[in-house]
């Protein structure tokens, strides 16, 4: 994947987030503090603003620049987590070579591991990791598929992960303070991770 495609993917993700304002905001208002949509779109807007100046950089530099910028832009819980993702992605093996499905799998694995190191959470804790960990696994297990097949598999894995957050209590994030009252609501960070994944996959296929 070229820098061009990374920036196109970011633009697609941003547009998709805008389309899901009500969902994402509503979920964080229900079991968080209502700002996740604002935080995540502030990040997406910032990346959009950087796009032009990054157009001629290699993917590793793009990822690093995005990471540093998001670190100082998003804030909240999602800020350090998302910027950790990009910081790790910048160092993924083969990032500046032509991308294969294995590169994508590796990048998502590296990014997801960085989020786990920073936030200490795991699958089943009702966070964005419920989308990212199954997504990374699905990508790794299907690196031999065509991009279109891989996209479809990725979206299903992300969607299942997102849906799984509905029926559990949270152990991390603000929803953890809610105990049983969080049950019945999808985690807002899982929702935004799913929306982004689906938008990027659509863009690819």
């Amino acid at each position: 994947m070229s820098t061009q495609s990374i920036l196109a993917a970011a633009a697609a993700a941003r547009a998709a987030l805008y389309d899901h304002e009500a969902d994402i905001e509503g979920l964080d208002r229900a079991i968080g503090d209502g700002d996740h949509y604002i935080n995540i779109t502030r990040g997406a807007d910032t990346v959009a603003q950087m796009a032009e100046s990054l157009a001629d950089e290699p993917p590793s530099a793009v990822m690093k620049a995005i990471a540093m910028k998001l670190m100082s832009t998003i804030g909240g819980a999602s800020g350090p987590l998302i910027s950790s993702f990009f910081l790790a992605a910048a160092k993924t093996d083969g990032i500046d070579a032509p991308w294969t499905p294995a590169t994508v799998a590796q990048l998502v694995e590296d990014g997801t591991a960085a989020i786990q190191r920073r936030g200490k959470a795991d699958v089943g804790d009702k966070t964005m990791l419920d989308v990212l960990i199954p997504l990374a696994k699905a990508l790794r297990e299907n690196v031999d598929k065509t991009p279109a097949e891989l996209s479809a598999i990725a979206v299903s894995a992300a969607e299942a992960g997102k849906d799984a957050t509905r029926d559990i209590t949270a152990r991390f994030g603000r929803a953890a303070f809610l105990g049983e009252r969080a049950i019945g609501h999808i985690d807002p960070g899982a929702m935004s991770a799913f929306v982004i994944t689906r938008a990027i996959c659509k863009d690819i296929s």
Binding site: E25, R29, G32, D33, G34, D35, I38, N39, R42, M71, S72, T73, I74, G75, G76, A77, S78, G79, P80, L81, R118, G119, K120, A121, D125, T169, A170, R171, F172, G173, R174, A176, F177, L178, G179, R181
Partner: protein
């Protein structure tokens, strides 16, 4: 949404600019990145830095000044500030004696301060406040929320830093104050985040949220609004389940932003009567808006089990926009 603002995205900078205009004798406001420092800079003491999402004013920037914080980092409304702010603040106020980060226990704040600490070249330690007894810890890996006791930690540790205590001692002191404090809040109405434009939650005309968080997060239960005496009693019971004071206590009756002082003093009366019954002596008290939730109607009670050192540090001089005595 009805607010006296120009636009949601200029609220924070314009509010900080106003803080700077009002209190130029006590502090300096920096906008890019955003942090507020004590003016003039202190010398030869451990620097105390706090911060967190905005919307809790006067917490934290209103506590910058002699005898309390050296710097505060305000994030967007209800959103943790970012590591670049904390780093810039630390570089501005570190005297060489080290930096003590005072952080309310929320995932976002903890992670952002953690990143800043990793990036900061000087020596630093962290105190996490987690005084909110509303939400039980057992099933949650993150522990309890940090709320109004943060003010008490900042005041007492601030006085000790002013007196020259070192980083390790200050960290231990802050943890002691936090550990001996418990808070409980109620909301009668929601707050509205400017960028969201609509209330964070809905309460019907006769409902209150018992154990509400300072971002409008739900607490223990939603229940029918009752008499102040009954509410205060339940709040104090919840605190006393956790903090077991023996004699002298500090109480903070804290408004959430939209509750008038008349009601806060009435809660103070109810609390004082309950403390009399419990054989507790209110040795020190504070009544007012100190750790707020925008325009939310509601209040919290914080109780701190005092020891002699804490009392004398509480009484030590403080010169900040929101606390000023001695």
């Amino acid at each position: 949404m009805k607010k006296l603002i120009n636009a949601p995205d200029t609220v924070l900078d314009q509010s900080l600019a106003g803080l700077g205009r009002a209190h130029g004798d006590l502090l300096s406001v920096h906008l890019s990145p955003r942090y507020v420092t004590r003016a003039p800079k202190a010398t030869g003491k451990v620097a105390l830095i706090s911060g967190g999402g905005s919307g809790h004013e006067p917490l934290h920037a209103g506590f910058v000044g002699k005898g309390m914080l050296d710097a505060a980092c305000p994030g967007e409304v209800f959103t943790s500030p970012t590591p670049d702010q904390m780093l810039a603040a630390a570089e501005a106020v570190d005297t060489g004696a080290g930096v003590l980060w005072i952080v309310k226990n929320y995932a976002g704040d903890v992670m952002n301060f953690e990143m800043a600490a990793e990036m900061f070249d000087g020596r630093s330690e962290t105190i996490l406040t987690n005084d909110d007894v509303a939400v039980e810890t057992s099933t949650h890996s993150q522990g309890r929320r940090g709320v109004a006791a943060t003010v008490i930690v900042e005041k007492i540790v601030g006085a000790a830093a002013e007196a020259g205590q070192d980083l390790t001692t200050l960290k231990a002191l802050g943890e002691r104050v936090n550990g001996r404090s418990g808070s409980m809040g109620v909301a009668l109405s929601s707050c509205t985040v400017p960028a969201a434009g609509k209330p964070t939650f809905e309460l019907s005309d006769n409902e209150m949220e018992f154990g509400v968080g300072i971002h409008g997060e739900p607490g223990r239960r939603r229940e029918t609004l009752r008499e102040a005496d009954a509410i205060v009693s339940d709040m104090l019971d919840a605190i006393l389940d956790d903090v077991k004071p023996s004699g002298h206590v500090l109480v903070l009756v804290n408004g959430m932003g939209g509750t008038p002082l008349m009601e806060l003093y009435l809660l103070m009366d109810a609390l004082a009567r309950r403390c009399d019954d419990e054989g507790l002596t209110i040795a020190r008290s504070l009544v007012g808006n100190y750790c707020t939730s925008l325009e939310m109607q509601g209040a919290s009670i914080t109780l701190t089990d005092l020891d002699d050192e804490m009392v004398s540090l509480w009484d030590a001089p403080v010169r900040t926009p929101a606390l000023h005595w001695g």
